[in-house]
Symmetry: C2
C-alpha cells in the first residue's frame, strides 16, 4: 500500500505504491506549461499537449472523441501506455514492466511519484530495473530512462532482450504510418489530422502531426506495426517476441507503435542504461532539435534541473509540522504542487471557466501573487460593461468558449470580491484597486474597484421580485441547468453567495480603506441583509435551507423531496453570508451530520437522484453518488469546512477538511495515492455503500485554494490584514501543537502554536514579547520572526 | 480459405471461411432499414442503428468519436464483440468461440455468411457448437442462437459452463450502469447520452439509451461489470472464469458488459440451445415487447422468415451461368444483395451525398424501379430553381448536411441524365418525364424533364472562359478540394462528364421521344462538342488527358508531374463523352495498362502522392495507395470498364470488371470474403507492392450500379430501349457461353448466349425465329421468352 515519505524538502517528497494490483487506477501526474501526463502505476499514460487546444500524440486504438478530462478514467488493454518487455533469452522467460501488458507477478515493485519525476523500482528474474519519467521545463517531450542490472551471481553472462513499447495508436483515418529513421535513431510516426473543410487545412498546417520515439542507443531491431507485432499472441504475449529479432516492420496506413529491441549480454552486477524521448513534432528537423537538446547525459541532467526548478516554483507560503506526517507531507508538498498546476497552467485549458480561473488564481496568491494579480486584471478586462462576467476567460487570441462555457451561468461575478480578499490578505496591495481596466465591449477603462462595483450591481439586479438570484442555466453547480432555464427559477445558494460577496467587499473596503462612496457601503450591506432575509423567508424549511425555487415555482431541497432532500452549499453559504442564526446553524449542522456526513467526507446532497427531474436538470441524470449528484464533491466540502471555521466549529471543520485529503488509511477504498485532492470521492453512501469513497482520480478541482486558505487563515490562524498579520489559530481538540513557517509579504515567520491550559485567550509572542492585539506588524522584506502562539486548551 | 458455395438459389447462397487467422478482418454484414452490422469472423461486431442519426448500443471501451464508417477498420482486444466462453469443468479447460478473445486454436472452425444469416460451426474439446446471428425485418435487435452438443463417447455426463459475453462498453460519462432484471430475464444497461445544452435534453429524451441482452433461459449466474469480470487475468483469461459461478455483479458508473453463465451437464450426443436478443431500447417496457415479439421458438421462426423475405427483396433482374461459379455466385447473389442494401437503406445515412443517392438508385432500377423513381423525384424536389443540385439529399425532416456534404461539389447535376438512362432502359416509363416537381426554393413545380434541362444548363454555365467546368471544392473526387477553391480551377473530368451528360440526355430524348424543343437538342449537342474540343485543346498532353488546371493556372495529371502523373477518370470519360478519337483511345489505354493496371485492378491515379500539393488538396494528403490517392478505387475502375465496353474493348473491359470482384484466388492478399465489392483495394502498387491488393473492408461504394449495368447491358448485352430490348452481348474472348434469366418490364427472358464461328454478326432467336434488328419487342407482363443469341467467335 502507499507509503508516504515524510521528508519535508519539496524536491524530496515522494509517495510510493508497492503493488500494481491493489489500486489499479492509482496514478501520478507531471506537467509543464504545454503538456500534462497522468501516469498510472501499471504503465498506462494519458498525455495531452496544447497546440493550442489539447491534443494527443499517443492515441487510443480507435478514433477517440475530443472531450474534457473525465472522472474515473477507464483503462483497457490497448489503452495508451509505455511498457518494456524483458525476455531472458537463455531461459525463454518474459515479463513486462512496469506491469502491463503481461501482468506477470513481479518479485519487487514500487511506483514512486516525486515532485518532478515518476519512477518504478522493480526486481524480477534477478534483474533490477529502474524506469524513470520526467519532463522538460518548456518542450512537449517525455524524458524516459531505463536501467537494467543483472543481479544473478556467478553464472556468467546472461542474454536478455529489452523491448520498449510506446503506444502510438490510431492517429488518423486520412494518413498514418511509421518507420525507423536511422539518422535520427528514432521511430517516426506520421499522420495528417483529419479534416474536410479547406479552411481547416490552413489551421492544421502547423500542427505537430508526427510522434517520435528517439533512443540514445542504436537498437538491435525495431517494429512499428501494432497488429503485426502483436499477432495472435495478443498484447500480453506478442508473436514478435517469439523470434530472436524484431522484423523492422513499417506501418503503412496501419496502426503505428514504437518498439525497439536491445539484445544485451550482462555479467554479474553489470547494467545497461537507455534514454528515450517520446512526443509530438511537426517535422524531422524538430525531432533532431529535441534530440540535440535533451538526449545526451549532460543535457539530460540540465533538462532535469530546469524541470525541477519549474516544479519547485510551486512552493507556497506555509510549511507545517504536526504529529501527523502524512498530513504535513500533503500540506507542505502535494497541495502546493497541485495548486501551482492549477494556477500556473489553468488546467491546460484555453478557456477556463471564469469561476475556476478566479479561484485557481486565489490559490496562486499563496504561491506567486503577481500571477494572480495579472489574472484578475485579465478576467476583468473580459467583463461586460454592464458588470456581467463571461462564462470563460479566453487565454489567447484563437481561444473560444467550449463545452460547459457555452451554457449561461449566473454566478461568475460572485467570485471576484471573494478571491480578491485572499489577494489583499496575502499582499496588502491596495494599488491593484485603482488599476484602470477596459471591458470586453468598451475600451473606456474603469478602476479595478469600479469593476467590482459593477459586478456586484449586476448580481443585485439579477434577482426576481423577491430579491432572490435568478439561476439561468446554472450557478456554481453547472448541471443544475433546468431550475431556471425558462427565466424564473432562483437559487438559494447564489442569493447567499451574492450576500456574502457584498459583505466581503464591504469588509475589504473597511479593512483596507478602499475608496468607495460611503453610501455604497451602506447600500451593499443593506442589500446583503435584504437577500439574507429573503432567503430566510423563502428557503428556510424545518431544519435547513432549500436549494432553489424552480421555474415551476417549486421549492426543492427539502424533506418533502424524495431525492435531493438536502444540499450542502446553501447551508455553508448561509453561515458565510450571515443568513443563518446561531440556532439555525446548529440545526443545519445536525442535519448535515446525519444526512450528508460519511467516512469519506461530506456529500453535496442526499439522497442522490436516481431519475430525471425536469425542473432541476442534468444533475439529476448523473449517476447517483458521482460528480454533483451526491458525491463527496470536495469543492463543496471545503466551502463547508471554511464556513464551519467562521462559525467557530473548529473540530468539525478540521474533520471535514481532513477527509478531503486522500489518505493511506482509506486508499484501499479510494484507490488513489496521496498526491492530489480528487474532485470527488463517490458518495450516495446510503444508496451504494460499497462504491462510496472511490476517488474520481481527477486532479482538476476548485477545492485547493479554499483548502489552503483554511490551513493558512483558519487552522494556523495566520491571516493577513491591513498592515500586518492577524494571529488566531483554530486548532481542533485533538491537535495540541503545530510548528512551521509562514512566508508573508516578504517576511519569514517561524512559528510554534501550542495549546496551553494556563490561558483563556490566544497569546502571541515574538522573541518573548507579547504581540499587541495579536496582530503582527511586518517590518519589511526578508525580516525573520520567531513567533510563539499559545492557544487556550479546553478539556 | 474461403470456399464459395455454388448453389444458385439466393436464400441458399453461402460463403464460408475455415480459419479465423488467415484473414483476421474478414467479415460479413446484415442490415435492415434501421440498423447495420459488420460482423468479423473472429467475433468482433460493428453495429449501428438509426435514431435518426447513426448510434451505437455496443460501444468501444473509451469515448469514441461519432464519425462516418472508415476503411480498413482496426480491431483490438476490447473492440465490441459477441463471444461465448466455454469451460469444461471436469477438465478445467476453457476456450472461447467464435475465436476471440481467448484465441484458442479450435479443432474445427467455419464462419459462414448466407443471405440473411451469419453463423459459425465449431468443434472443440469434443463439443459441437453452432452460433447463429440474424436480424428482424423491422426492429433494432440482434437475434443470436447458440447450440452446444457433447460429442464425447461413453464417458457419462460432462459438466460444462457456457458464458455468453456481449460487449456493452463505455456508454456515457454522465451515467452508465447495468444489472440483471429477473422479470425480463435480461441484463439491462442504462445510460444517459452525454450533453450539456438544455435544448439537447429534449432532443435526447426519446433516445434508446439502454442496452439489453435478453436470454430465453434463466442463467445460473451473471455479471455486468467489465473490469471485475476480467480482473488481472485479462479478457483472454478472465478471473471470473476461475470460480464455479459468476458473482452477479452490478456495474455502477463502471463499464458495463452483459455476461451470463449456464452450467450444464451433457450426456453423449446431448445438446443445449439458447436464444439471445441484443440491442438498444428506450425502457423496460420496450425490452419486454422485444422479448415477447421474438424470443420463443415459433416467434423466432416467424422473425427469421420475415427477415429472409426482406433480404430476398434484393433480387435483381439478371441471373447468369457461366463456367465460373464463383463469378456467377457473386453476380447472382452477392452483388444484388449489396446493391439492395445501398438502394433500400441509402447506406443508413440521413443525408446521402447526392451523387451516391442517385447512383445507388440507379442500382435500384434493376431491383425495384418504383423505389428509384421516387428517389429521383425526391432528389429533384431538393434542386435549386437555378438548376444546382445540393450536396446531399435530406431523407427526413431533422436531417442535416454533415461531414463532406458541407463542402461544395460541382458534379451533382451530372448524374441525373446518366442514371435516368438506366431507369428508362429498365422501365420505358417516359411518364416520369412529365411529372411536375417543385424546388427547394420554390413551390412552383416544373416537369421532371425541365428539371433535367435546368441541371444541364447549370452545368454548361458553371464553366470558365474556355468552356471548362469549374471544380469549386471538389467534383466526383471529394478530396480534390483545392484545385479550384479560389474560384478559378477547372476539372477535365467534370467537363467531360458534362459533355457526356448532355449527350446522354440527347440520346434519351431521341430514343424515347421525350418532348423537348428541337433547338434545345441541337444546342446540347453543340455544347457537348464544344466542351470536348476545349478539353482536347487544354488537357490532352502527349498520351492522355490531364486531370485539371488549378487556381494557379497549373495543368496537372501529366508526365510533367512527379506524382499523380496519370488519372484514370479523365480517360474513361473522354471515351464516354466522345472527346477521345480512336487513336487517342489506344494511346490512353496503353498508358493506363502500363501505369495504372495491377494484379488487383486498375488504380485511379499513379504514382500516389506522398506529400501535400497545395493546389490539388486533401487527396494528396491521404496515405499513398489508400482511397482516392491511387488505390484500386472500384468506382473509378468500373467507369473505366463501362467506357471500355463503349469502345468495344470487350476483353479489357471484362478484365477490369472481374478484378473489381473479390476473389478466392486473391483473398489472402485482399483479406476479404467474396460477399461484397469493397470501395477500394490498396493501390500504390509500384510504391508499396506488399500492401497492394488489400481490401478496405468497406462495403459502401458507388461501384455496384455501374457494375450491374455492365453485366446487364454490356456483357450480356440485354439493354432496354424504347419499346423493347436490344440484344448485343459483348463476351470476352475466353468466355464462350452465358446462359441465364433476364427480367425485363414484367417479362422473363431465359437466354443462352453462345459463340459461333458460323456467323459474322450477332444473331438472336426466339423459339427458333430470328429477332429483327436484334431488338426484342416485349408482349407484356408475365410473358416468357426463350432467347438464343449467337455471337461471332473470333479466333
Amino acid at each position: 500500500m502507499n507509503n508516504i515519505n515524510n521528508n519535508h524538502k519539496i524536491e524530496d517528497a515522494t509517495v510510493k505504491l508497492d503493488c500494481p494490483i491493489s489500486m489499479p487506477k492509482a496514478s501520478g501526474f507531471l506537467w509543464n506549461k504545454r503538456m500534462v501526463l497522468q501516469v498510472n502505476c501499471r504503465g498506462y499514460v494519458n498525455a495531452q499537449f496544447m497546440q493550442p487546444e489539447p491534443r494527443k500524440y499517443s492515441y487510443a486504438p480507435n478514433i477517440e472523441e475530443k472531450t474534457f478530462i473525465q472522472p474515473e478514467h477507464s483503462y483497457f488493454s490497448h489503452h495508451p501506455g509505455r511498457f518494456f518487455y524483458i525476455k531472458d533469452e537463455d531461459q525463454q522467460q518474459s515479463f513486462s514492466v512496469p506491469y502491463e501488458p503481461m501482468r506477470v507477478k513481479l518479485a519487487k515493485f514500487s511506483f514512486v511519484q516525486s515532485a518532478s519525476e515518476i519512477y518504478w523500482l522493480i526486481e524480477h528474474l534477478e534483474l533490477k530495473i529502474k524506469i524513470s519519467l520526467s519532463l522538460t521545463a518548456n518542450d512537449v517531450v517525455e524524458r524516459w530512462s531505463l536501467s537494467v542490472e543483472n543481479l544473478r551471481k556467478g553464472e556468467g553472462k546472461r542474454n536478455i532482450s529489452i523491448y520498449p513499447y510506446f503506444s502510438i495508436g490510431y492517429m488518423s483515418w486520412m494518413n498514418q504510418s511509421a518507420t525507423f529513421d536511422e539518422q535520427l535513431n528514432s521511430i517516426v510516426a506520421t499522420a495528417v489530422t483529419p479534416y474536410q473543410k479547406v479552411e481547416q487545412y490552413f489551421k492544421n498546417k502547423e500542427l505537430k502531426d508526427k510522434t517520435f520515439l528517439i533512443a540514445d542507443k542504436k537498437p538491435t531491431s525495431w517494429h512499428t506495426n501494432q497488429a503485426t507485432f502483436e499477432g495472435e499472441g495478443g498484447l500480453h504475449s506478442p508473436d514478435a517476441l517469439k523470434f530472436l529479432q524484431l522484423s523492422n516492420n513499417d506501418a503503412r496506413y496501419e496502426t503505428p507503435v514504437a518498439i525497439y529491441q536491445y539484445r544485451e549480454s550482462l555479467g554479474e552486477n553489470q547494467s545497461v542504461n537507455y534514454q528515450f524521448l517520446f512526443g509530438p513534432a511537426k517535422d524531422n528537423t524538430e525531432i533532431a532539435q529535441i534530440r540535440d537538446r535533451y538526449l545526451n547525459s549532460s543535457n539530460a541532467r540540465k533538462a532535469q534541473q530546469e524541470y525541477d526548478d519549474y516544479i519547485a516554483q510551486g512552493k507556497a507560503c506555509l510549511t507545517i509540522n504536526t504529529d501527523n506526517t502524512e498530513f504535513d507531507d500533503f500540506v507542505n508538498h502535494w497541495l502546493p504542487r497541485q495548486m501551482f498546476y492549477h494556477g500556473d497552467v489553468n488546467r491546460l485549458s484555453t478557456d477556463p471557466q471564469t469561476r475556476n480561473y478566479i479561484q485557481d488564481n486565489m490559490g496562486m496568491c499563496y504561491i506567486d501573487p503577481t500571477v494572480a494579480r495579472q489574472a484578475f486584471v485579465l478576467a476583468l478586462s473580459q467583463q461586460h460593461s454592464n458588470g456581467a462576467m463571461p462564462d470563460g476567460i479566453l487565454l489567447h487570441a484563437q481561444a473560444e468558449l467550449k463545452y460547459i462555457n457555452q451554457v449561461p451561468h449566473a454566478d461568475h461575478c460572485v467570485w471576484l470580491p471573494i478571491c480578491l480578499a485572499v489577494y489583499l490578505n496575502e499582499t496588502g496591495d491596495v494599488d491593484l484597486l485603482t488599476t484602470p481596466i477596459a471591458f470586453s465591449d468598451s475600451d473606456t477603462p474603469k478602476l479595478f474597484s469600479e469593476h467590482i462595483d459593477l459586478a456586484l450591481n449586476w448580481l443585485v439586479k439579477a434577482t426576481d421580485h423577491r430579491g432572490l438570484s435568478l439561476i439561468e442555466q446554472g450557478d456554481w453547480c453547472d448541471p443544475m441547468n433546468m431550475v431556471g432555464y425558462k427565466g424564473k427559477g432562483v437559487s438559494s445558494w447564489l442569493s447567499l453567495a451574492t450576500a456574502y460577496a457584498l459583505n466581503t467587499w464591504c469588509d475589504l473596503c473597511e479593512e483596507y480603506g478602499i475608496q468607495i462612496p460611503l453610501n455604497k457601503l451602506t447600500e451593499y450591506r443593506l442589500a446583503a441583509n435584504t437577500i439574507n432575509e429573503s432567503v430566510n423567508t423563502y428557503f428556510w424549511h424545518e431544519q435547513w435551507f432549500a436549494r432553489g425555487i424552480t421555474d415551476n415555482d417549486r421549492l426543492f431541497g427539502t424533506v418533502n423531496d424524495e431525492e435531493g432532500k438536502i444540499y450542502l452549499n446553501p447551508q455553508s453559504w448561509a453561515m458565510l453570508s450571515g443568513a443563518a442564526s446561531a440556532e439555525q446553524q446548529q440545526l443545519m449542522i445536525a442535519a448535515i451530520s446525519e444526512q450528508l456526513m460519511t467516512p469519506y467526507g461530506v456529500m453535496m446532497l442526499a439522497p442522490s437522484y436516481t431519475k430525471m427531474v425536469e425542473d432541476i436538470g442534468r444533475i439529476t441524470q448523473k449517476h447517483p453518488g458521482v460528480s454533483e449528484n451526491g458525491s463527496v464533491y470536495n469543492h463543496a466540502a471545503i466551502f463547508y469546512a471554511y464556513s464551519l471555521y467562521q462559525a467557530g466549529e473548529n473540530d468539525l471543520a478540521f474533520e471535514v477538511l481532513s477527509k478531503i485529503l486522500p489518505s493511506k488509511a482509506l486508499a484501499a477504498k479510494s484507490g488513489q495515492l496521496s498526491i492530489f485532492v480528487p474532485n470527488y470521492y463517490r458518495g450516495a453512501y446510503q444508496q451504494y455503500p460499497e462504491k462510496a469513497g472511490r476517488s474520481s482520480q481527477l486532479f482538476n478541482t476548485g477545492t485547493l485554494a479554499w483548502l489552503y486558505r483554511c490551513l493558512v487563515e483558519e487552522l494556523c490562524g495566520l491571516k493577513g490584514g491591513n498592515g500586518g498579520l492577524y494571529i488566531a489559530p483554530k486548532l481542533p481538540s485533538h491537535l495540541n501543537k503545530i510548528s512551521g513557517q509562514r512566508m508573508f509579504r516578504g517576511a519569514i515567520i517561524h512559528f510554534i502554536i501550542e495549546k496551553s491550559t494556563q490561558i483563556t485567550e490566544i497569546e502571541a509572542y515574538i522573541d518573548g514579547e507579547q504581540v499587541v492585539d495579536n496582530k503582527l506588524t511586518i517590518r519589511g522584506n526578508n525580516a525573520t520572526y520567531q513567533l510563539s502562539v499559545l492557544v487556550p486548551a479546553h478539556d
